[in-house]
Amino acid sequence: MEHNPSQLAQASKVDVPDIQFVGVTKRFGNVAAVDNVDLSVESGAFFSFLGPSGCGKTTSLRMIAGFEQPTEGNVYINGQSVVGIPPHKRHVNMVFQQYALFPHMDVADNIGYGLRQRAPRPSKSEIAKRVDETLELVRLEGYGNRRVWEMSGGQQQRVALARALINHPTVLLLDEPLAALDRKLRREMQIELQTLQRDVGITFVLVTHDQEEALSMSDQICIMNEGRIVQTGSPRDLYDDPVSRYVADFVGKSNFFEGDVVDVNAGSYSIKSATGQVFSGFGSKGAPALVKGGKASIAVRPELLSIGSADGGNIDADVKILGQIKNRIFLGEHTEYLVECEGLGEVLVLSPKHIENIRGTFEPGASVTLGWMNDIALALGD
């Protein structure tokens, strides 16, 4: 485990990750907010920390920024250890959750703030020029003289971005930057952030509890729980190959059928549920192997379930279970059914529009058959 990234850095500059955590632990009192974390963020990546509140993602971000110092372990930025280095000496910048714009300064003064702290200080005209360029970058031309409180939420967000980006930091940190925006604006900003990141080529590190946000923007997502990293990977990896029920549950929606592992066969598992039915599923890539006799769940994504009439005749599936429709929600491009399956609990099914069009919809209360193919079912530990 012990290696020295700065030596590596000298060996080949290109391979040095922008951010690297080695055995980082942060304790507040007796509580470990971050517990022995190793990770690295490649240069130019859009990297997200995802997890529920209190999982340690914000603390990790704050250790990169320098607001917190690790209790144990080492944080490297650009191959250099930054432990003990205060925030103002780190070449990273942050976009704060509530933006933290300076209320007593106008927009231009906010954006130029970082430049003004430089020694030697750039000339007034130089600062003004860079501020104008950055305003343009975030599409706020001409807003320089506005007071920050006169700006809308989305505009404030851009000012905060501009204030950080103007410094061309090694890494831009974003702490739940979209949390304060309404749904529609959030969607727009997600796209905008992604585009911006590609344009400026700076590494972005985002903290969010919103899986949709993380999935849609990031190259790499690090899912955390109780201070530890659960899984790191691309959005697709996480969705298709979650290493645990926790990840599958957090990334997208999933149905779980619990039971005991009764058979293990070359990466495929058989799990006996409470109803006595035996389901099989594949183990996930990168997940620890399940043990026979242990507890596990079969995970099936709702969009991969088929739904058909109670006689079960018209669906093509390896496994079929019976249930009764409890609730139905029409969502436009698909219909969402909540089906009560005796002994297995509630199962969520997403039925696409084109199929509904052909087959017709099921009314609440109707008895139905649910089915899936064995090769899409995953067997996951907790």
């Binding site: 920024a65 320098g66 607001f67 205060p86 925030p87 103002h88 000496k89 990273v92 910048n93 942050m94 704060f96 959750q97 509530q98 933290a100 714009l101 300076f102 209320p103 007593h104 106008d106 703030y113 970082g114 702290q117 430089r118 204030r163 950080a164 410094n167």
Partner: protein, 271 residues
């Protein structure tokens, strides 16, 4: 509701009206209205004692307000980062110095200072070389300012601390994140943020000190503040001069307010 409010404003302003009206009284006694005249303004303004006591009050109020703004702000900044028994001790002292009546501050300060001077002055006299007049500690500007500052400093601490507590900590983090050193963060971000509270503290302290009678009465030593002058004039037959002084002070405060408003507006327009 509206009528009620008008009645309350009348209640607040009738005495003021009376003061102003009587200041134009040409008679010798405040409550004997004998005709309009501005003679008492002339008398008040040319009365060196009125002017001296006004200047004394201004000096004391300004010094107390400045001192308490500085020490109070410093203490509020320090206390905000402090925990444990020392914090509890300071909280207690602040609480007590705000709670105890001015009259008790005046008396305790008088008693303690007089006792202290009785001990220190002979020692000073002994220490000084023969033939040179030894310095002698006594009541005066320093003692009033110090006594006023005890109360006003705690006032500033409470005000500034509330402001710091209400301040977004992220602003400070944002500043350090943007390469500002702790000192630059302090004067570029923290100070402007808490400045309204410091200013409010300064003004409150100034007002308190300027209007204080009872503490000054005990510890002002040879100095006569305006309230002391007014008090002693009132006790043995008030003349319209006192009303004229009151009106002048009121007018002066109003002019200050309007000027401040004007300057603020000018600054905002520039922005």
């Amino acid at each position: 509701m509206r009528l009620y409010s008008i009645a309350v404003y009348l209640f607040l302003y009738i005495p003021i009206g009376i003061i102003v009206l009587f200041s134009f009284n040409s008679g010798r006694h405040a409550s004997d209205f004998q005709g309009l005249s501005t003679m008492w303004y002339g008398k008040a303004l040319s009365n060196p004692f009125v002017m001296e006591s006004l200047v004394t009050s201004l000096i004391i109020a300004f010094a107390a307000a400045t001192l308490s703004s500085l020490t109070g702000t410093a203490a509020a900044l320090a206390l905000q980062r402090m925990r444990g028994p020392m914090r509890v001790l300071f909280d207690g002292l602040i609480y007590i110095s705000i709670t105890i009546p001015g009259i008790v501050i005046g008396i305790t300060t008088l008693v303690a200072l007089v006792t202290a001077f009785d001990i220190v002055n002979p020692i000073l006299a002994d220490m000084w070389p023969e033939g040179v007049k030894p310095p002698k500690l006594s009541l005066g500007y320093a003692s009033v300012i110090a006594a006023h500052t005890l109360f006003t400093m705690s006032l500033v601490i409470v005000l500034v601390r509330a402001r710091i507590a209400g301040m977004d900590r992220a602003l400070i983090e944002a500043s350090t994140d943007l390469y500002a050193t702790p000192w630059r963060t302090f004067y570029q971000i923290t100070l402007p943020q808490i400045f309204p509270a410091i200013m409010a503290g300064f003004l409150l302290s100034f007002t308190f000190s300027f209007d204080d009678f009872i503490i000054s009465f005990f510890v002002a030593g040879p100095n006569t503040t305006l309230p002391i002058y007014v008090f002693s004039s009132i006790r043995r037959g008030i003349t319209p001069e006192v009303n004229a002084i009151g009106t002048i002070v009121l007018a002066f405060s109003l002019i200050l307010l309007v000027t401040a408003q004007f300057l603020l507006r000018a600054r905002n327009e520039r922005k």
